[in-house]
Symmetry: D2
Subunit: 301 residues, 4 copies
């Protein structure tokens, strides 16, 4: 079928490619002219405006928005609307907060537009292995997009599904990322403990490789870790600095709002915050307190 894609970056570009290779007509827009040009060269149609994009798609149009969450999504929708008509479908495949997706749905529905939220997982590997997609919105609308989902997914009926009404896609993806934080932290702590056990001189790349087969902790994340360790066992040249892209903190907020205790996901986020604190006030204050009551020496800068 036909699909418009806004945002041809790391994720959107690969998705366009996967769809195109499967025979779908892909019309794509990006502020980066090189990206649109590349799409055309590859056999799709790269266009230079939202208007042009809409004109090159037959109604009812389906337009996949793959841009950073927040204002860019709203701006994209606002920019597209004048060129779209009732029955057209907006698909937000990015990492939007599910509450925003619910709001957008509630705003667009009365205007006759459809809105579907798709939590997309798979990262840079999706082109090759397919994307896991958790989808929220109206059943008939999602059903009408089936050819797209079947192509993007790892398998025809695998790795994708409607998880509920509007917002359910991004909600589930948000929690997915929260779990991801906890899993990553689990591995990282374990490898750190082994690294620190210097008398045993453990070979971390080898251990990761052993665990890939038959162990209880085998996973795709472990596969990637094994490969990364093979290339750089000491993780040389890197800073112990970890960013977060939002879904982790949303998961934490949501857990608290729901009165669900989620200590591990929460602490995994907190540790990322900690990684970005330089000479933090907290620890300096602890040092000062120890000195104040016990005369313990303080490490000076």
């Amino acid at each position: 079928m036909e699909l418009g894609i806004i945002g041809l970056g790391k994720m959107g570009g690969n998705m366009a490619e996967r769809l195109r290779l499967a025979g779908h007509k892909v019309v794509g827009f990006d502020f980066n002219k090189d990206a649109t040009a590349k799409l055309t060269t590859d056999g799709g149609l790269g266009v230079n405006s939202l208007e042009e994009l809409c004109k090159n798609l037959q109604a009812p149009r389906a337009i996949w928005i793959m841009v950073p969450d927040g204002k860019p999504v709203d701006d994209t929708i606002a920019g597209l609307k004048p060129f779209m008509q009732k029955g057209d479908i907006f698909i937000d495949g990015g990492n939007s907060n599910y509450k925003e997706s619910q709001r957008r749905y509630a705003e667009l529905k009365p205007e006759g537009f459809n809105f579907v939220d798709v939590g997309t997982s798979g990262g840079v590997w999706g082109l090759k292995e397919g994307y896991s997609m958790m989808i929220g919105g109206d059943e008939d609308v999602i059903e009408s997009l089936r050819p797209i989902f079947e192509t993007l997914a790892p398998g025809k009926d695998e790795g994708w599904g409607r998880t509920g009404p509007s917002g359910a896609g991004h909600f589930v993806k948000m929690v997915h990322n929260g779990i991801e934080y906890g899993m990553m932290q689990s591995y990282a702590e374990g490898f750190s403990i082994m690294k620190a056990k210097t008398p045993l001189a453990l070979n971390l790349p080898q251990i990761a490789k052993i665990w890939q087969k038959g162990s209880v902790v085998r996973s795709w994340l472990l596969d990637l870790t094994a490969e990364a360790l093979e290339h750089n066992p000491e993780l040389d040249g890197l800073q112990a600095y970890v960013t977060d892209s939002g879904e982790g903190r949303w998961t934490v907020f949501e857990a608290i709002d729901l009165n669900v205790s989620a200590p591990i996901i929460t602490e995994s986020l907190i540790r990322r915050l900690r990684s970005r604190e330089d000479n933090n006030y907290t620890d300096r204050m602890l040092s000062v307190m120890r000195n104040a009551f016990g005369g313990h020496s303080m490490k000076k800068k």
Copy 2:
């Protein structure tokens, strides 16, 4: 080759079976007569004493000990020694503390015996899928056992390896289990958050299934969870009560001894302790304090 196995339970029994099916001669002992009888019926040799076991193996003997950690391992070694001779190999395939394994190695080596520690992962699935094995001890001794490891492992050269000197096998397995705690807790928290989001009426078995393909959190543990959820989505009939078998707390102790901060693995253990606290004193004291300073009401029993 020939292998003696002490302990024919859930793990040892399956290992004997996997070895036997591959053509190895297996001589097994268990205090449970049914287990030894079954081994004989299946085509191995079940014996009724440690002496008999040793007599049915040719030197240099290799004897795999698969019994609960601690005294049972020491008792087994002590019971076997009179019937063994220099060059024979003790293999501890159970969940022993790596420090105990190092002690046993240090005690047995001067007496002419070999000792190898094998951290074994794979649980009840090992018979079919093979066992992940992390092995500590002398290189030549481990090499002499290669046919055994190649058979038990998921693949000839996959899922097993010597991770270092004596103790390195059980150390790595210990950390493996620590990571396992963290991963399990991550999933469990995530599913709890989704369960609590009642307005979305999320279908947890379906979501687990979606995630199995293409998502960042796909793993063997998720595969098992998806299957379990399909059979019992509400987890009905179960108590929120989680035991721990030792490696988790050893990992925590080790991390602290090594001055490695491992908050997630640690908290995962602590949450298991919490699951077994009934009407705990801590929370009652918090309730009392709130009442004492703020006049907040206390929930009575």
Copy 3:
């Protein structure tokens, strides 16, 4: 000076009393007629409407609002406004979110009204010992209320102060409560550990009493705990169920928004959530997972 007080409950009633005893004129309103009647009996003036309250105060009026946070505060302000005039002062002494206080200030200021946010600590002990007050708002307005603060505080120049512009009072009070969560949890855990050390048969009330003098952990919270333990060392008859009144979770949200890692305050909140989870899904899922991969038995309900 003159002060109007809305809300004559546990906190507001005691504050009225403390002010009245020091010679201030107190005009009070509460939906509970008994509370207003009591104020009149005690020597203040209890009134039956917001209008009456305003009429009995000379401009510029100062009105202390001591009602639950959220809608009740907005409703009270809206109810008072028609009877107030430019230059009058609204004082929110309750546990409002600092962002709400900033919003109220921003709304009231252009209308000519003053708004001051006062984070008030001291609980049921304030009548006798005085209240700790952290105050946000315009300096001259706060200064004009000095006689009130000097009376309510534990000492003329002690235990109160302007901590910054609008919102700074409630912000500091919010963090105060976050710290309070952590301190309470610290004590409660410590006493639980001692309680569990049964071979030593430790006498917890005695230990609390010892610590009150000379120890590093001496505090007012410990004083209260010692007294509570003396009356009920086993904490009999209570449920391990801990509520939270909001400031704790706001502190957690704020820390994350500020990218400050605050693991202890956060976990103290999470443990309160946990105390209210009955047969929680998280732990049941852990139990199911252990069974799925290791065949470990599950505790049935």
Copy 4:
């Protein structure tokens, strides 16, 4: 009465002084000659050997050992024994592990010696304010030392007591320190959050001072913090590096051994470990993983 003191450092020296000022005869030994000389100058008796120390005390001797835990305590006891006689009392006032104290008691008792373990709190302030002492051992032996305890304590019958049999003193002191970790971390996190809220430009020394009177979080630790902040509000010149002297990690180990969940005390310890990790492997691994699955950029060194 008479007391021998081994170790005249920060703690022991002040205790000697406090005892001497109250009229007790103090005989002291330290490897540091200046410390012994000072004791003599001050009016006590500084000696140059353990033998000399014993000779200058009348039986039954009471000797307070104030040296680092572990080997130094055992060495001191072994060094003293030849010059002591049945009925003499060893007092370990340092920060020994309670299990060591129980072992020492069990070893010394059959030899006719008495052993008392005293957990001592109060730090550098003890000289002026008195020491909080938690004491384990035989009742009659502790009773015979009453004059010493009454002098060292903040008040005759305040701040000290026998908390149970041998080991109970050091056990309770250990937990005391665990609580101390949690309290310190609570304050430090709270102040960090306020520091980060730059738009409010909060004055931390002023806030600490306000809280000292009437707030729920008032405590001796807060008093010290307020004073420290007054001198150095920015905590300039310090490193975010926090050491730990052992009791915290013992508390964590003990809690786990007792199956008591103590997340806050545990995490407070873990954060101290974290403060000493430089460019830690854990966070670098997280960064690598994020890059591996999502193509997220890594911060290079």
